[in-house]
Symmetry: C2
Subunit: 435 residues, 2 copies
């Protein structure tokens, strides 16, 4: 017993206790900032967070009451359920996708706990350790977190220079040593760049994927939040035109109600071939059996009653906030700072002048201005991106945006001056010595 | 374009499209049986399914209405939330665990989507491909499904012979070639065996784990459903006595409200060291950000109002059904069939005579008797267990249990006769030929 008692305690700080993949797991910087959100006086341009004032509260409360008042529905939402998800909601989504140019049926839809879970389940299904994921750089940091668990490598494309450019998809994976396993893109109002892949680039991407022979995850989290311009066909819609049927398409479309209804419900979906839906159901069954049914039933009630109306409420408010932020940026930012102009979604992506570090800026910003944003690095698979900042405009009122951007601009200008004085610290004194 | 269009369609039936781990994924036989549940005339002894008549419906409906009527709580449940889970519920669980002999605080608790998600997240954190998991055989098939995704091996112990015996923990992993990474046990009213690990075996298991230097997952899904006898201290409670503090204990306790409140809410938890809780939070963040908050808030309201009362309602009903099933088995089963006598939980575990195949029996049972149960194989890491049957007694009324067991017994007797006539088909005719 003496020999055992000396070994009785367990050292949870020893990395050897964990699987190798645990070493790659890092706390999301966004999540860490979210902890600051509750503090008084904090202005947040971090997070892809909807304005809670715009949640369809009445419809949600009415739905919850209705479900609880109906013995059959109440029993349904409280008992174990199918891993595929709540059938009426799957039916509704199949109809919605069909209206978006994606003819499909209920068997092409599986519900997930937000689209984050879809990314995890797809990483599990497709990624062996060392496999390459093709993606843009920057890309959604939550996708990198989900995939990193499966220890992949990344084959990335960088953005062209300039504020209005688009990802240079054409020259993706030049001579990449590992055959890629899957691609991941956010074609619409991308997280974090706010940019939208134009139609010709979408077709080019599908050509490339056909050459590579790999599937692609189309993350459509922001698709419904288009402020202006004509809707573009999704990659899935375009690929169905090529292949004739969703069951033969390589595109795996992920959607979510987190940005349009309410994120706390955790209701997202995957729309893809029936065969892949069945594989996702298997892997979800092992992961958590199924999602909370009450939330899916509420989501069903709300979207079937008023999805278009709800999206119609969000768009003018978010568009106005985007405009206010773009105006404030134009008025107050130093000319060396550039940014994207999104046609929808939740984000503007800033590029700082050479030599500035967005993480140092953030630390300073939290301390002196009480403003938070997400620095660029976590969006890049290779950890570059230190000159970038992601700004969210959907969660703050107009006066907060105007004031916050002005203060952020002053802070950036100060960092630029400090950088300039560090870069050329001795010229005046040297000149003085020479004279 | 011609060369591309020939490659445009994607073949989802090609296993090479998926990661290696996908090959190990199989549909749960339980899940397949659940699809039969809705059919008229089906008697189900399959599934660990609570009786929906016993859900605390009024408390749940009252809670949902209260949350929706309170602007602050409503906003809380609809917005993004912390991956740790709903804080009031974590506080309540910390108090509950403390009352169970596990002194701990909110930082020792993380909410999961049922305990199934805990098993997936722990597999992700602890299992490299090829690592060994120490477990009993049989063990919970959902744990095997969750772990199999991470491609482990298993070091198993078998049960001693006889219906009242206990797992022979003492001689686990004899000369096992791979150092195990983690252990998994269901100490109370085990799934599928219904058996409970006595106190001396619990201490022996902790000794062994200290020798091996590995952590252990204590699956306590059924712990609250004790019908008789004094409660035993959990492995975690025992190990805290050894180590002095939960943060130094190797035991990872998983609990769930699926068996006591309602499974559709998908609310479970892990109680363990703060350091491991933080690691689980990281891995959950990448997996699905957080669980649906409304369900956690409802679970909080219900358990803080009436957890003991609710468990007190379940126990006499389930105990009576266990007794009715045990009586029916005694009255009707052939003497060659043996079974366990659980002190709580949801399952009785049958052992059929040599030569019988529980899967053939199930096929016959579905066709001729419309009775479903779970055959033994999926509970064994090595796929043995063909002579076993798991019976659930919590979901059926007493008359259904009496009638169903009588019919199942007749079917088993018929299979025994058929087996005997196949095994010795020619003895009479040979005798006739010799005479």
């Amino acid at each position: 017993m003496v020999s055992i008692s000396s070994r009785a305690t367990f050292d949870w700080g020893d990395p050897a206790a964990f699987a190798d993949r645990a070493a790659s797991m890092e706390a999301s910087p966004i999540r860490e900032f979210l902890k600051l959100l509750g503090q008084p006086g904090i202005v947040s341009f971090a997070g892809g967070i909807p304005d809670p004032q715009l949640f369809p509260l009445d419809a949600i409360a009415r739905s919850a009451a209705g479900i609880m008042a109906d013995p059959a529905r109440r029993a349904d939402v409280l008992q174990y359920a199918a891993s595929e998800g709540y059938a009426p909601l799957r039916e509704w989504i199949a109809g919605y996708m069909t209206r978006l140019g994606v003819p499909c049926a209920i068997d092409n839809i599986v519900i997930t706990s937000g689209s984050q879970q879809a990314l995890d389940l797809l990483g599990k299904l497709f990624l062996d350790s060392g496999d390459a994921v093709v993606t843009t750089a920057p890309t959604y940091l939550g996708a990198l977190q989900a995939f990193n668990v499966y220890e992949p490598t990344y084959a990335t494309v960088t953005f062209d220079d300039g504020p209005r450019s688009h990802p240079a998809i054409d020259h993706v994976v030049p001579d990449y040593p590992i055959p890629p396993a899957i691609a991941y893109v956010v074609p619409e109002f991308a997280n974090p760049s706010g940019e939208t892949l134009p139609l010709d680039r979408r077709e080019g991407l599908l050509d490339l994927l056909a050459e590579l022979g790999i599937p692609v995850i189309e993350d459509a989290a922001y698709q419904a939040l288009r402020f202006e311009g004509d809707p573009l066909p999704s990659l899935l819609a375009l690929d169905i035109r090529r292949t004739g049927h969703i069951d033969r398409s390589r595109v795996i479309y992920t959607g979510t109600f987190s940005k349009t209804i309410a994120p706390g419900l955790r209701v997202g979906w995957v729309c893809t071939s029936r065969e892949l839906v069945q594989a996702i159901v298997l892997v979800r069954q092992a992961a958590d059996l199924h999602g909370a049914t009450l939330d899916q039933a509420i989501a069903y009630d709300v979207v079937s009653e008023m999805f278009s109306e709800q999206v119609g409420r969000l768009i003018p408010v978010y568009r106005e906030r985007r405009d206010v932020m773009l105006d404030a940026l134009s008025r107050s930012m130093p000319p060396e700072v550039t940014w994207t102009r999104p046609d929808g979604g939740m984000f503007i992506w800033l590029t700082l002048p050479e030599g500035l570090d967005s993480e140092a800026l953030l630390r300073d910003s939290i301390e002196t201005e009480r403003i938070i944003f997400v620095p660029g690095r976590p969006f890049f698979p290779d950890g570059s991106g230190e000159r970038h900042i992601r700004l969210n405009y959907t969660r703050s009122d107009e006066p907060v945006i105007v004031d916050g951007i002005a203060r952020l601009a002053r802070l950036i200008a100060r960092h630029m001056r400090e950088r300039a004085s560090r870069a050329e610290p001795r010229r005046p004194s040297l000149a003085g010595a020479a004279s």
